[in-house]
Symmetry: C2
Subunit: 550 residues, 2 copies
């Protein structure tokens, strides 16, 4: 990089950007291209429905015309409350191509939070699925203003009334099937609005820009080895970071989406075999469910299914079981603020020679930045100093790159706090291994400090997961007079498991962990979860606190 | 696309670009990432040499430090005259990371043209290979100023003296192996300078920007299905559009380069088998040479070798022969002005059911835009009106997108002419087929107009190529009093072919072509070629003119 700035020279004169050599980056143009190349190819398969790329494109044009006719203007917000159905994919193109911003709402939220989101995001139009009518009717009723509501009346929705002014099909049905499909004037323009799941307090509205969405989609498609023969199964909710941008990436490679209204592990396995699925994504909880399906004697999937796993680190045991079924598991890490995946545990051929256990250990790390990201650091949370890559020094994970949000909507203070000093501060804790691979150790607030030593709750959970009787486990800090904090574990057992005592589990942990890391208490009870399936450790911490004061 | 501009709203306030969420796009950072992920992995194989990604990166740092120490400043030009050797790859990173601009010179040029390029590009430093000493000594002598000359003293160069002040190894050897590896401040900054081959007149200096180089590299890697297991054989000269940006794309996927000092079809086949090559690129002339290697009874390559073919349309017969050998041929089209490939003949699964001949016909077209390009049109050269996609209406091919040059260096008139009206005017003629696929018909100046009908010289050449005795063919216009112009063919025969008469070839053409397209004259003689292997039709036209006046 230049020490000196570039002076005026032959390269800085008469070589301007113009419409021939500069186009705003946006993932929306991928779809127009796909429809032009493969008009008859299947873009979307949803149970009995087959939607070609031309039909997909035309329906997006109809949606764009319909929302424009409804008075939606560039910069307005359009909210959707939808499962992983074709109309959700249509919204990802038909809404932002008009200059409006797509706000996908987490379908597991309560009316109060949804009202907050609709108010805060200032949504002017809402597209909602019949399945969520009860919650949405309540959320809309609580709004202090009127909003256009359009119903998806999908015959496959098992319940719910129509609560809007018209159905989606009536809304778009009479609209022209063409639209002036052009990139935005400015690639920094907002394309979507995603609220964080927020384990505490009101969720924040993360704003995505077109440039980042394009870069994330291209980077994910490349890292995930996708092409026109790719068949992507929607086990990851599309409302979650716009489906980690795969809603758009599939159009870049002209692959096929397999929609899935609700996650059902047995149905997932059927669909994989039926459509020869090549790719899917999911949180560890999804993988865990798939692993526990009773399949009988079945050959492994062919072709192998590439699975990207995000969220908290899945236990090595789950990864190993997946591989046996015919999945190839790649570990990703990211946050809503980074359009989903920002790092990947890129496979190293030197690991081919390792034992399966050692391989699983390497592969359970969160790895290195994806090609569209510019940097990753692990720093001391207090001093901000870079920590050594020793696999032990725990610090905050910082990220930078073009696939980082433009900021939090109407929250300049939180934006500045998160993006200060040229880095996005994830609030997650991790270590750098000597090979440069990052491993997430914990959320900052989930770390347990016992006798001055840091204990990663994830590490203790890993040990618990390896126990053959344990289905789920979560570990939090319990206040202790002597140690400051000690680990306290909440577990659920597999239905097939023999009864097991607290002492037996503690003894198991002593074999696996340094003694100061071993939980002092094991509680057998279901784990409370957020709408995206994250364990609500805040609630567990309250229980542990109660336990400590008893 | 918004009819109305975006008004001030919540999305336009307090969500600025900053170092955390905006980084200048550049392909240079791919290398730093590859070296961090796979330090020990083979980045470059060159005969007996093996260069790991860490070594590759460190040598690029040394080069960057060396040219900075030599007084090269951001915005200065560094010229290189190099074959496809590791140092050429190093120049693609070590030069532009300093803010300087890399000017790769076509190794087949004459001293006069090279002097023109060094003068026009204002190169301040030149790295040259011993093999080209004679030409370069002459070119440098004719310069009206002094220039730092560094020699590559490769033991595998068969001839040539050292003509510079020091060798490359001495130049970089004592420099530190680290460098502040950062993107440029502005992604529109120039990264490289590529002179057009210019069949007539002085070549023009095409300026590439970092943004376009990043987009082209990512788009090509994705379209070409590359990943960390990719092994790329350098049959395409790296001086040609920076090796169609694969010099950078390989780092994006962390694949392996196989260098090759000089093209030798037999060696190519050996290297493919030895290193399990997965990808290569080349002009049709390269493919033609490979097809004619006497291999004996050999099984097809495994894995299949993906070959991207650019330049003029290769004859269907050549494509068919390649596929039998274990190549999978993909047809690309582009120009120096578009960083190489801008369009690709994307395979359509519906073609799987066609006969091999029909498949070859589909696949010999130049297709559709790559994902990083924004548009392609075929327009009437005079009125500028869009022509129907009927497979017959011939017009000029226009392109737009982020992988279009910023312009011609110090030539604002030519820049404006080429990039006018928001499109890059290629000067090539083509048709759009009803399926939206483009087919190049000819260079504007190569079209033959006979009795008011357009005849594509390429179409006539295709017919000639299908004749089993013909090795090479070129068709130009011969002036005719009656018809205006008539086609005149120049051919060379295969060494193994039986003698054949002009009349026999004309009879063959009559079976293949409409009668007005059949050449009236067939001349048996070697074809004159430019330094990039393009047939010099200008010279053939002069011969045809002479013939007409005899």
């Amino acid at each position: 990089m230049p020490d000196q700035p570039i002076c005026e020279n032959s390269y800085t004169k008469n070589l301007p950007q113009c419409a021939a050599n500069y186009c705003a980056l946006t993932p929306l143009t991928f779809l127009a291209r796909a429809a032009a190349i493969y008009p008859e190819k299947e873009a979307i398969i949803y149970e009995e429905r087959r939607i070609s790329y031309l039909q997909f494109f035309q329906r997006c044009c109809q949606l764009a015309n319909a929302i424009t006719a409804a008075g939606i203007k560039p910069g307005d917000t359009v909210a959707v409350m939808l499962p992983n159905i074709p109309e959700m994919l249509e919204a990802h193109y038909g809404v932002p191509i008009t200059g409006a911003v797509l706000n996908t709402i987490n379908t597991r939220l309560d009316p109060n939070t949804i009202t907050h989101i609709l108010n805060h995001g200032e949504a002017k139009l809402l597209i909602t699925d019949r399945e969520f009518s009860d919650v949405m009717a309540e959320a809309v009723k609580r709004l202090d203003r009127s909003i256009i509501v359009i119903d998806i009346d999908d015959p496959l929705a098992s319940t719910g009334d129509l609560i809007g002014s018209q159905t989606y099909e009536a809304f778009i049905g009479n609209q022209p099937t063409d639209y002036a499909w052009q990139p935005p004037e400015d690639e920094w323009q907002a394309i979507s609005l995603n609220y964080t799941s927020g384990t505490t307090g009101n969720p924040k509205g993360v704003v995505y820009h077109h440039r980042g969405a394009y870069e994330a989609a291209m980077g994910n498609a490349l890292a995930f080895n996708m092409n026109a023969d790719s068949v992507y199964l929607w086990t990851l909710p599309m409302f979650h970071c716009n489906g980690w941008t795969f809603t758009w990436a599939l159009s870049a490679v002209c692959g096929t989406h397999i929609c899935l209204r609700r996650f059902d592990p047995e149905r997932v396995i059927e669909l994989i075999r039926q459509h020869k699925v090549t790719h899917m994504c999911g949180a560890p909880i999804i993988l865990n469910a798939i692993v526990h399906v009773e399949q009988g004697e079945q050959p492994p999937f062919s072709p192998v299914v590439e699975v990207a796993v995000g969220g908290a680190a899945p236990p090595s045991a789950v990864i190993a079981s997946m591989e046996k079924m015919g999945f190839h598991v790649t570990h990703l890490y990211g946050l809503t603020e980074t359009y989903g995946p920002a790092t990947i545990c890129a496979w190293n051929r030197q690991w081919d020679a390792l034992s399966p256990d050692e391989q699983a250990k390497k592969n359970a790390r969160q790895g290195v930045v994806l090609p569209m990201m510019a940097g990753l650091r692990v720093v001391d949370s207090i001093t901000g100093e870079e920590l050594p890559a020793d696999g032990e020094s725990i610090g905050e994970i910082l990220l930078r790159g073009n696939a980082v949000m433009s900021g939090y909507l109407k929250n300049p203070q939180a934006t500045e706090e998160a993006l200060r000093d040229g880095w996005f501060h994830t609030g997650d804790l991790g270590v750098l291994h000597p090979d440069g691979y990052m491993e997430v150790k914990d959320r900052a607030k989930d770390i347990i400090i016992s006798g001055g030593e840091n204990i990663s709750s994830l590490e203790v959970e890993e040990a618990l997961f390896r126990h053959p009787a344990i289905l789920e486990a979560a570990v939090v800090a319990k206040p202790s007079e002597k140690w400051g904090e000690t680990p306290c574990a909440f577990v659920t057992l597999k239905t097939t498991a023999e009864p097991i005592s607290e002492q037996e589990i503690i003894a198991w942990c002593r074999e696996q962990l340094a003694h100061f890391k071993v939980p002092r208490h094991i509680l057998f009870e279901p784990l409370p979860k957020t709408s995206t399936g994250k364990v609500q450790k805040t609630l567990l911490r309250e229980k542990a606190l109660q336990l400590a004061s008893e």
